[in-house]
């Protein structure tokens, strides 16, 4: 007797992001086994990320190297200047990278951190004399070359710099991993006299020993990230009198460039995943506060294999926190609009991303540093190069893992993806050999007719179409198994793609 087809509807598949921690069979279909080059779009759907458009037209000074730092200088007078670092140089500009490296200043590494403070921009890198720029001198110069600098010494050539509480703070020195120096009040070039000073926290580490990695200012606290512990001081507005507020053992920070402020929390990458400082302080317990529980093992694996460096950025406009493992060309995108039941952010992965620097501008633009120079996070190609969007569901058992499932139809609903070729894939019983069926999305152009019917300034002129292509297909499927994995791949090359839903029609067979 013929059986009725059972419809299994995957609405907004993967809108909870990747989950590689839970058992595939027990997973919520809202998770994804793979969500590459994807983001959670404004409607909660999984969608292709944006690409980057290169702004730089002249990167002669950069050569073939990648930008590893981007920072926009801004002073009270409204002067702005974009600085970047790469190829052992300091650059300015976005279209043409102008070498701003001070004469006679030799650079052999590009791991700069740049901060704005009181009408100057400061650049710190371990073992290098800090650089400073202001609009008055209009030149990047070594700090000691500045007319009014004091106390600039090799002992304070830190790798981490923080502008907070009216001072510059620096730490992570070549031969000193437990001392923090702070500058005089409101003067980042005065490192002696005034109210400048230092604190050695070697006796404060809760685990007896640690090394300072990063600094952060949050909630009137000075947060000192060690590799495996965190020390928090309160009253940092008066550093000489600031007192220990809290210590957290077992949770540290991997790299200074993973620390980002989201307004309510300080996000940083620990050895076991992404964490929120606010929650860590609140709970004082490492396991509960993880923001990346769904990909913990993946992150640990990446951490263990990362030989280059990390970059991160928080974009309130895009609602994500990007964490790049540059050496492994992998970026994780954490959607910060909300958390899952376990407190984790929804996360997607951007493999093959060659992003080496980020900068969130005041106008909401997100600058990305690459070997091409400075790019802007926009469009749907990586500087004209397509990238592949992938979605794979977890293993689906349709609520009865013991019975055989025979897929008959796969009906994806896609939004966008004009002219894109979409590959629908499915496999049974945890197999890695996927059956593939492809289709090409039609090329729908809005019928504008260049008629302004409802107002002189109606842009775009969309009298007859909404300007967004929705595509529903019904694809035949073959084979059977107790569990099914459904996937979708498509190269993103100029158009957005969102996966609205996938409807599966299957016959439920005998019990195996």
């Amino acid at each position: 007797m013929a059986q009725e087809l059972r419809s299994i509807n995957l609405v907004a598949p993967a809108f909870k992001g990747i989950n590689t921690e839970d058992s595939p069979l027990a997973q919520d279909p809202s998770f994804a086994e793979t969500a590459d080059n994807a983001v959670i779009d404004k409607r909660g759907r999984i969608a292709a990320r944006k690409g980057h458009e290169v702004t730089t037209t002249n990167k002669t000074a950069l050569g073939t190297a990648a930008l590893r730092a981007i920072k926009t200088f801004r002073d009270d007078a409204g002067n702005t200047k974009v600085f970047s670092a790469g190829n052992n140089k300091i650059f300015s500009g976005t279209t043409t990278l102008v070498d701003e490296t001070p004469a006679g200043y030799t650079i052999t590494a590009d791991n700069w951190k740049m901060v704005n403070f009181n009408d100057r921009i400061y650049m710190f890198q371990r073992g290098y004399e800090p650089l400073v720029y202001d609009n008055t001198s209009a030149d990047v110069e070594a700090m000691s070359d500045h007319t009014h600098s004091t106390g600039v010494a090799s002992t304070m050539y830190g790798n981490e710099v923080l502008a907070a509480y009216g001072r510059l703070w620096t730490a992570d020195f070549t031969n000193n991993k437990s001392t923090i120096y702070w500058s005089d009040l409101l003067n980042g070039i005065h490192w002696s006299g005034g109210t400048s000073g230092s604190i050695d926290i070697s006796k404060v580490w809760p685990n007896g020993y640690d090394e300072i990695v990063a600094l952060a200012a949050h909630n009137n606290l000075l947060i000192i990230f060690g590799q495996h512990s965190i020390v928090v001081y309160e009253g940092a507005t008066s550093p000489a009198s600031m007192t220990l507020s809290d210590t957290v053992a077992g949770v540290g920070c991997v790299d200074r460039d993973t620390v980002q402020y989201t307004g309510t929390d300080v996000i940083f990458l620990s050895q076991t995943g992404l964490r929120s400082f606010g929650r860590t302080i609140q709970e004082k317990s490492m396991p509960i506060s993880s923001l990346s529980k769904t990909i913990t093992k993946d992150i640990i694996s990446l951490l263990q294999n990362e030989a280059a460096f990390y970059r991160s950025v928080y974009s309130p406009e895009e609602n994500f926190y990007l964490l790049s493992f540059v050496g492994q060309e992998t970026t994780y995108c954490f959607d910060v609009r909300g958390t899952l039941e376990d407190g984790s952010y929804r996360v997607t992965r951007w493999p093959g991303s060659l992003f080496t620097a980020y900068e969130t501008r005041r106008d909401g633009k997100l600058f990305i540093g690459t070997t091409d120079g400075i790019s802007e996070y926009k469009g749907y190609s990586d500087n004209g190069v397509k990238y592949r969007f992938k979605y794979f569901s977890p293993s689906l058992t349709f609520g009865d893992p013991s019975r055989l499932k025979i897929l008959k139809k796969i009906k994806p609903t896609l939004v966008g993806a004009n002219s894109a070729t979409v590959f629908m894939k499915f496999a049974y019983d945890f197999g890695t050999s996927f059956s593939t069926t492809e289709f090409t999305v039609g090329n729908q152009q809005p019928a504008f007719y260049n008629v302004n019917e409802f107002g002189a300034n109606s842009v775009p002129l969309s009298e007859f179409t909404g300007g967004e292509l929705t595509n529903q297909r019904s694809l035949n499927a073959v084979g059977n198994g107790t569990s099914v994995v459904v996937g979708l791949e498509s190269d993103i090359n100029g158009f957005a793609l969102s996966l609205q839903e996938i409807n599966l029609l299957a016959l439920i067979g005998k019990t195996l």
Binding site: S178, T179, D184, S192, G193, G194, T195, S196, G197, S198, I199, D200, I201, S202, K203, V204, V231, Y233, P239, A240, S241, M242, T243, L244, T247
Partner: protein, 364 residues
């Protein structure tokens, strides 16, 4: 110093008689002088006019013998005798006055005396051969020992007061710091614990001298304590120096107390000596005045005798050349003149013998 009964003994043998002024030489001399004067007046015990009666009798005899020529001779002789006698009386008065002055000088000389206190100390006085008055003081052995001890102590204290105070200041400072250091260490440890609890052990702030405000405050307080200790040590050393000087002063003063007490003990004796001296001087003056009164009286008497003799001689001479009128009969006898000198010598010699004996009795 407690008052002690002081027995004052004056070695004034002249005062050892039964009467305060008894047995003094000048009194004896006064007695002698009185005797002389009495001798002078002895003849007054004789019936009034006996003496002169002899003389007049003699003269009458002479006059009878030589009358009427003899009276002229006798008058001349008597006048000459009066003249000579006045010269002798002046010389004798001068000699007596000089003797009296020398005696008064000897009697008014300082009489040495010695004072011995109940503690055995002595004050002695003597007149040196050169005439100077020398005073000697002697303490008892106990007092000498005490004086030596006190003066030695004074020397020690003064010596200590003159020593530099640096070493003493350092010693006092060290002792004060030794007393302060444990509490400072406790405070330091407490601060260290607080800073460690606050995670601030490693804080170094340029505004606080490379430390925390608390550390700077503690260091400041400790330095203030050190400074106070240093100043206190200086003040204490100086106070001790002043104390040493004061003690030296006290010891020095006390060292002279036995001597001062000895001098104080001699005050009554000195007053007595002054009284003695005053009495001596008074007696000497009284003696001199009395003696001079006697001399003057004698001079007056002798002067009167001489005048008398001169008057007698003058009268005799005047009678010899004046006619005698018998009032009863009215007969006038002419002056004898120098015609009757033949019977003169027998009667004159007898009369002169009588006169000379009478005068000689005056100076016996």
């Amino acid at each position: 110093m407690s008052n002690q009964n002081i027995t004052i003994g004056l070695n004034t043998p002249e005062f050892s008689g039964n009467t305060p002024y008894g047995n003094t030489s000048y009194l004896r001399d006064l007695a002698d002088l009185g005797g002389v004067l009495q001798n002078i007046g002895v003849n007054t015990e004789q019936p009034s006019g006996g003496f002169f009666g002899d003389i007049l009798g003699g003269l009458r005899d002479i006059g009878s013998a030589v009358s009427p020529a003899i009276p002229a001779i006798a008058g001349s002789l008597l006048t000459s005798e009066a003249y000579d006698r006045l010269s002798d009386v002046g010389r004798q008065a001068e000699a007596s006055a000089m003797g009296l002055a020398e005696r008064g000088l000897a009697e008014s000389q300082f009489k040495p005396f010695t004072v011995t206190s109940t503690t055995g100390s002595q004050l002695g006085t003597r007149v040196t051969p050169s005439g100077a008055v020398e005073t000697t003081m002697g303490l008892s052995p106990q007092e000498q020992a005490m004086q030596q001890q006190l003066l030695g102590g004074a020397g020690d204290f003064f010596g200590q007061a003159q020593m530099p105070t640096v070493a003493r200041e350092q010693a006092i400072f060290d002792r004060m710091r030794a007393a302060q250091r444990p509490e400072e260490e406790r405070q330091r440890l407490a601060l260290e614990e607080r800073l460690a609890g606050q995670g601030r052990l490693g804080v170094s702030s340029a505004a606080y001298g490379g430390a925390t405000p608390e550390q700077l405050a503690m260091a400041t307080a400790q330095e203030e304590g050190r400074n106070r200790a240093m100043l206190g040590a200086m003040q204490q050393a100086q106070a001790e120096q002043a104390q040493q000087a004061g003690l030296g002063q006290q010891f020095l003063g006390a060292g002279y107390v036995p001597q001062a007490q000895l001098l104080a003990a001699t005050q009554p004796a000195q007053r007595l000596a002054e009284l003695q001296q005053q009495a001596q001087l008074y007696g000497t003056g009284l003696f001199g005045e009395t003696a001079m009164s006697g001399i003057e009286s004698r001079l007056l008497a002798e002067q009167a005798r001489a005048n008398l003799l001169g008057g007698v001689g003058s009268n005799i001479l005047a009678g010899m050349f004046t006619p005698q009128v018998n009032q009863r009969t009215g007969d006038v006898t002419s002056a004898g003149g120098l015609g009757d000198l033949g019977g003169l010598f027998g009667g004159v010699s007898e009369g002169l013998g009588t006169i000379i004996r009478g005068i000689g009795g005056i100076f016996d």
